[in-house]
């Protein structure tokens, strides 16, 4: 059994006493070195979860435990050392006047010596494939490049969990692809838990587990394949079903019995080929 890294225990949150609950009685666990996707429509509470995970917000009810420490005023700075976060808007989290300055910002805050910073900057920029932009100013970067710089800045502080809070929502398809590729590589190469928060079902295929949020509650928690199977229900809560899943459904309507909920083109073609050979 894997070690629990983040625990949400009956967490409820709202922005003020007269405001509606954004999260209501939410419980789940996230394990070490796991990739979890949290999906839901806009306003489903998914981004609030991210902010609760490193003490940018505190819940009114329930408890959040990260790496054995409860998230509260006393531990929050300790917790921020191993929880790295990348936010939605590429511009509003870029502090430095160049890429390397921005990557250094987190390390400077933690008093990392200058010589060490220089080594780590080189290392993390390589990991996100941004070596050649070390001295570039933010307004000369694309959204995807800014987000990769943000990821590098987080990696530089060697966190144990990386949270991407809708980090691809404002990017064009190329930027989105770059980020997803970068993230997948990082997950493979290092022992880091990854939490990607998104409303794009295409992005959850590679995750090990998906938590679906709806109206402040955990609507479902399962493997991507199992989530994809619930097409009609997903549509009802404002999410889109990928092409492959829709096609599989339509094929079944036509008497082609696709069984193992396919996740991509190769999988569905493989099944079709098998069926074809038997006919």
């Amino acid at each position: 059994m894997r070690e629990k890294f983040i625990e949400f225990r009956n967490v409820s949150f709202r922005y003020g006493d007269n405001e509606p609950w954004v999260l209501k009685n939410v419980s789940f666990d996230i394990y070490k070195d796991e990739w979890v996707a949290i999906i839901g429509h806009n306003g489903s509470g998914k981004s609030t979860i991210a902010k609760l995970m490193n003490g940018l917000l505190y819940p009114q009810e329930g408890e959040i435990i990260i790496n054995g420490l409860p998230v509260n005023d006393k531990h929050v700075w300790e917790i921020r050392k191993f929880v790295g976060m990348v936010f939605q808007n590429p511009d509003n989290q870029f502090v430095g006047t160049t890429v390397q300055d921005d990557v250094a910002f987190g390390m400077e805050n933690r008093g990392v010596p200058r010589e060490e910073m220089i080594l780590r900057i080189e290392e993390v920029l390589k990991a996100v494939r941004m070596e050649e932009y070390r001295l570039t100013e933010p307004h000369r970067l694309s959204g995807g490049q800014k987000q990769r710089a943000a990821i590098a800045g987080v990696l530089a502080i060697k966190p144990e969990v990386l949270i991407l809070d809708e980090a691809t929502a404002m990017l064009d398809p190329r930027g989105r692809k770059e980020i997803m590729q970068t993230v997948a590589e990082i997950q493979q190469q290092s022992e880091i838990s990854l939490i990607t928060i998104t409303h794009d079902l295409q992005e959850v295929v590679k995750a090990e587990r998906v938590i679906v949020m709806n109206n402040g509650k955990v609507w479902d928690e399962a493997k991507p394949r199992e989530i994809f199977a619930k097409k009609d229900e997903l549509r009802k809560i404002g999410l889109d079903v990928p092409f492959v899943a829709v096609l599989a459904d339509e094929l079944i309507q036509n008497g082609i019995m696709i069984k193992n909920e396919p996740l991509d083109h190769d999988e569905i073609l493989e099944e079709l080929w098998t069926l074809h050979s038997k006919m």
């Binding site: 429509h41 806009n42 306003g43 694309s142 959204g143 929502a169 404002m170 064009d172 398809p173 190329r174 930027g175 409303h199 794009d200 079902l201 549509r235 404002g238 999410l239 889109d240 092409f243 829709v246 096609l247 339509e250 094929l251 309507q253 036509n254 008497g255 082609i256 083109h265 190769d266 073609l269 079709l272 080929w273 069926l275 074809h276 006919m279």
Partner: protein
């Protein structure tokens, strides 16, 4: 109104060390009443292109014709205001342009500037609200109290209230969740049909281009790269790959299917439902090639 570009070039900060060519000899024609999708990477010149449509910028070289209006290099038409009342532009994240005290005042801002009488404005607002999916009781609220999705609809209503003949949409669904995106695109398509608009959509979504556009213009590094109906443009996989553009998923799938099964199912903008029927025929052993 027709839109014609004739050898249009545009250079930002010409004659300075920061000079940057944004458009290079772009020519095309968009007939009145069509729905055109403009596609290209960030920085391909799309945004610069659409700013020519209502005279926000004038070409450095060449000529833009919108109906009878002519915009030459360095010279804006005398009737610029009139042109802008006939070409509505919904910019990316249009909710950022909201500023007035109430939703109603903000929607009325555009038509008021263009001299539409107050009675006519309130009549238009009543028509537009249901079309953009806003409730009437929001009219007295401050636009800043609304949700992101509602704010965007208010901003769009503000553009529609001018009753433009050409509607320019710059990635109107950016940042919305899938359901919101679908609803918004359907809304624009209905408006396009009902009011006989000429619609110019800047998008990154090949799926939207396939679904709604009659004509596709693909931009690359400031030049026009491809042009034509979606079913002709998107099947040219190699050309699109060369500029690293996505291919609509259905076409990718058809290609993978052909490689695997050896039978060619042509792309004719079919629905997934229809596609499933065609596939099942092949899988069940019928030969489409005949």
């Amino acid at each position: 109104m027709d839109i014609t570009f004739k050898d249009v070039s545009f250079i930002y900060q010409a004659n300075s060390p920061f000079a940057h060519i944004a458009l290079k000899d772009v020519s095309f024609h968009i007939p009145s009443g069509s729905f055109v999708a403009i596609i290209g990477h960030t920085g391909s010149g799309k945004s610069t292109l659409i700013q020519h449509l209502n005279g926000l910028i004038t070409p450095t070289k060449g000529e833009v014709r919108i109906g009878d209006y002519r915009i030459h290099s360095g010279k804006k038409p005398d009737s610029l205001k009139e042109l802008r009342s006939r070409v509505g532009v919904v910019f990316q994240y249009p909710e950022h342009q909201l500023f007035d005290e109430t939703v109603e005042k903000d929607i009325a801002f555009g038509p008021k500037n263009f001299g539409v009488p107050a009675v006519e404005i309130s009549k238009r607002i009543n028509e537009i609200l249901p079309a953009v999916g806003l409730d009437e009781n929001l009219l007295d609220r401050s636009p800043f109290d609304l949700s992101g999705g509602q704010m965007r609809r208010v901003a769009i209503a503000g553009v529609l209230a001018v009753k433009p003949e050409i509607l320019v949409l710059d990635e109107p669904t950016a940042g919305l969740d899938p359901k919101g995106q679908r609803e918004m695109m359907d809304m624009f398509y209905n408006l396009h049909k009902d009011q006989g608009l000429t619609t110019v959509l800047v998008t990154h979504s090949m799926e939207d281009a396939v679904k709604y556009a009659d004509q596709v213009i693909i931009m690359n590094k400031g030049s026009k790269y491809m042009e034509g109906p979606p079913e002709e443009v998107f099947v040219q996989r190699e050309l699109l790959n060369q500029v690293q553009l996505d291919i609509p998923e259905i076409i990718q799938f058809l290609h993978a299917f052909e490689t695997r099964f050896g039978s060619h199912i042509p792309f004719k903008r079919q629905t997934i439902e229809r596609l499933a029927q065609e596939i099942s025929q092949v899988v069940k052993g019928a030969d489409l090639r005949e």
